[in-house]
């Protein structure tokens, strides 16, 4: 039936039935058709948009900003055709606000921005964390602070992604290294947001956002679709923040017959504010953090390229995002020259994969940490390595990727 509907008819159908109904194979097929060929030569920003649409994203609110504009452009063109909504907002504060509202109405929702917009979003990212709103925020990092270099890439928002809003909370941040991974990890971001009811940040950058590479679009059976756990309780028995033992409460989307009170104030399980109870606040914030901290093993993703053995001569390299591309090449050249190098690529920046990093650092005679900033992840590595080993930060700013030679010099130097 869906196949025969015009875009306009499908849009009306989707507004009534999605998200209440699952994002089914026939809905996916409609998205897939709108995206065109299976093999594409596409930019990271486009791959992010395609990943979102394939994951079932039906809502995008944003404010265009270089180098993230292409994501908004594609979403504005395609979302209306597949039963979704695109709203160009007055600024980034409103954008994340609209995304949070859309998520509570049941939609998988996303926004995309760059440094200056990401800074503006921080208060509402905290609100999303406090209200446990599943949503995806793409930050196409550019050189900062402030307006910086709009068309250049950077990795200067790694710490902001975790610590940008005030108070204690946890969220998830992912760093793709290829255009294909921009697509794959955006799908993953939606799944994680829906599973843990947190904002998930996709940290790309101006280099990868604008870079074009070959991508292959996945089919329905290739994707594991995850939707938030909703409640089946009787309306009278439901409380929005009851802990069923998983630390992740069952969600009742707006308009589904449940009484749901949402506030950024400290709240009890009922959802109603409780602003002067130490116990209520502590219980809430601890649960917000523990639902992520207790699942670091499940959430955290790394790529290990270890040679095993080679003992105390080994030099470690820890990278993430686009910088890993230089490391891949440097590692090949170093091994050809007889150097023992082990490379750990961090895919999940937050929660930080402490165990993997500690393991590598503890057995390497030195560990090189290349970043497109003045040393941000370096602090995290130092924190889990007891300061015992030689940690070498390789700093670079200004929009240019480390050359493989610069990585090699960091290792051999």
């Amino acid at each position: 039936m869906l196949d025969n509907m015009s875009d306009h008819e499908y849009r009306k159908f989707a507004a009534r039935h999605i998200p209440a109904r699952l994002f089914a194979a026939e809905d996916f097929a409609r998205v897939r058709r709108a995206l065109g060929r299976k093999v594409l030569f596409a930019q990271g920003d486009i791959a992010v948009a395609y990943g979102a649409l394939l994951a079932g994203c039906r809502f995008f609110a944003g404010y265009p900003i270089t180098p993230a504009t292409e994501t908004a452009e594609i979403m504005s063109r395609l979302l209306p055709r597949i039963g979704g909504s695109y709203i160009q907002m007055e600024d980034e504060i409103a954008s994340i606000g609209a995304v949070i509202g859309a998520s509570w109405s049941g939609a998988k929702a996303m926004t995309a921005t760059s440094g200056p917009g990401f800074s503006l979003m921080q208060e509402n990212i905290g609100y999303a964390a406090m209200t446990e709103t599943p949503c995806v925020i793409v930050d196409v990092q550019r050189s900062g602070p402030s307006t910086g270099q709009p068309t250049e890439g950077a990795q200067g928002d790694i710490m902001q992604a975790k610590w940008g809003s005030h108070g204690d909370y946890e969220l998830i941040a992912l760093s793709p290294s290829t255009v294909q991974e921009c697509l794959n990890l955006t799908i993953e971001a939606f799944n994680l947001a829906e599973t843990y009811r947190v904002p998930v940040i996709v940290l790309t950058d101006g280099l990868i956002g604008h870079m074009r590479e070959k991508i292959v679009l996945p089919e329905y059976d290739d994707i594991n679709f995850v939707s938030r756990k909703t409640t089946a309780k009787a309306a009278a028995a439901y409380r929005p923040y009851d802990n069923d033992g998983t630390n992740i409460p069952e969600m009742a989307n707006f308009g589904t017959g449940y009484r749901v009170y949402i506030t950024g104030l400290t709240h009890k399980e009922s959802g109603y504010p409780s602003t002067d109870s130490q116990a209520d606040h502590h219980r809430l914030v601890l649960r917000l953090c523990n639902k992520i901290r207790d699942n670091v093993g499940k959430i955290g993703k790394v790529q290990r390229d270890y040679q095993n053995g080679s003992g105390d001569r080994t030099v470690g390299i820890i990278s993430y995002g686009v910088t890993s591309r230089s490391v891949f090449q440097a590692v090949k050249e170093l091994r050809q020259r007889g150097f023992a190098v082990d490379h750990l690529r961090i895919i999940t920046n937050w929660p930080f994969p402490e165990a993997e990093v500690a393991e590598l650092v503890s057995r390497c005679r030195r560990t090189v940490i290349p970043e497109l900033n003045l040393g941000q992840m370096y602090h995290l590595v130092r924190e889990v390595s007891s300061g015992a080993n030689d940690l070498v930060p390789l700093w670079k700013t200004g929009g240019e990727l480390h050359t493989p030679q610069e990585i090699i010099e960091g290792v051999t130097g």
């Binding site: 093999v39 030569f41 270089t66 709009p150 068309t151 280099l207 604008h210 870079m211 074009r212 590479e213 070959k214 686009v322 591309r325 230089s326 891949f328 090449q329 090949k332 240019e400 990727l401 050359t403 493989p404």
Partner: protein, 179 residues
């Protein structure tokens, strides 16, 4: 086998689009490609640079350090990147836009009338397609049909014929230059 191309011009001359088409053509031809670009905040007038790496294997480092092919349609672009080529590289310049003596590192130094050819077609805007046709013939690593397919998917259908004509004329220029 990895071949690195750098296209330099002023913003507005269509170099980035040319790079996109070139990379997509390589994908159509079953190869791997990465295209990256550098440009300022202005939409035209500033320096614009497109880089394309074409390889049979996976491409790790995605930027061009020393090009196998440097294609220059602006004097400042050429001056800035003239030294960043491999020993024995091919340099291709628009003879009316770039004044240069033979590049000491170049194995081949080719001057072609890209802009003049486009002007003769009545549309200077297709200079990039003339250039692309020439590079296709000179480098000879992407099949012409695969590249033309990429031209079709990247230019407005209304102007397809003009663009294909420009490409073919450029291809002919390149073929002659190669001999």
């Amino acid at each position: 086998m990895k071949t690195e191309f750098r296209f330099v011009a002023f913003g507005g001359q269509g170099m980035i689009l040319a790079g996109v088409i070139f990379g997509e053509g390589a994908i159509n031809d079953g190869k791997n490609a990465v295209q990256s670009q550098s440009y300022g905040p202005e939409s035209r007038g500033g320096a614009a640079r497109a880089e394309v790496i074409i390889a049979d294997e996976a491409i790790d480092y995605p930027m061009v350090l020393e090009a196998d092919y440097l294609v220059a349609l602006s004097q400042p672009g050429y001056d800035k990147h003239a030294a960043e080529i491999k020993q024995g590289a091919t340099v291709i310049i628009d003879e009316d836009l770039v004044t240069a003596e033979n590049n000491p590192r170049a194995g081949a130094f080719i001057r072609l009338p890209f802009t003049k050819t486009a002007d003769a077609l009545g549309q200077r805007i297709v200079t990039n397609l003339v250039m692309l046709g020439s590079v296709c013939a000179i480098a000879d690593i992407i099949k012409k049909d695969a590249l033309l397919e990429a031209v079709k998917s990247n230019v407005p259908s209304k102007f397809l014929e003009l663009n294909v004509t420009a490409f073919n004329q450029g291809y002919e220029l390149g073929r002659q230059a190669r001999q």
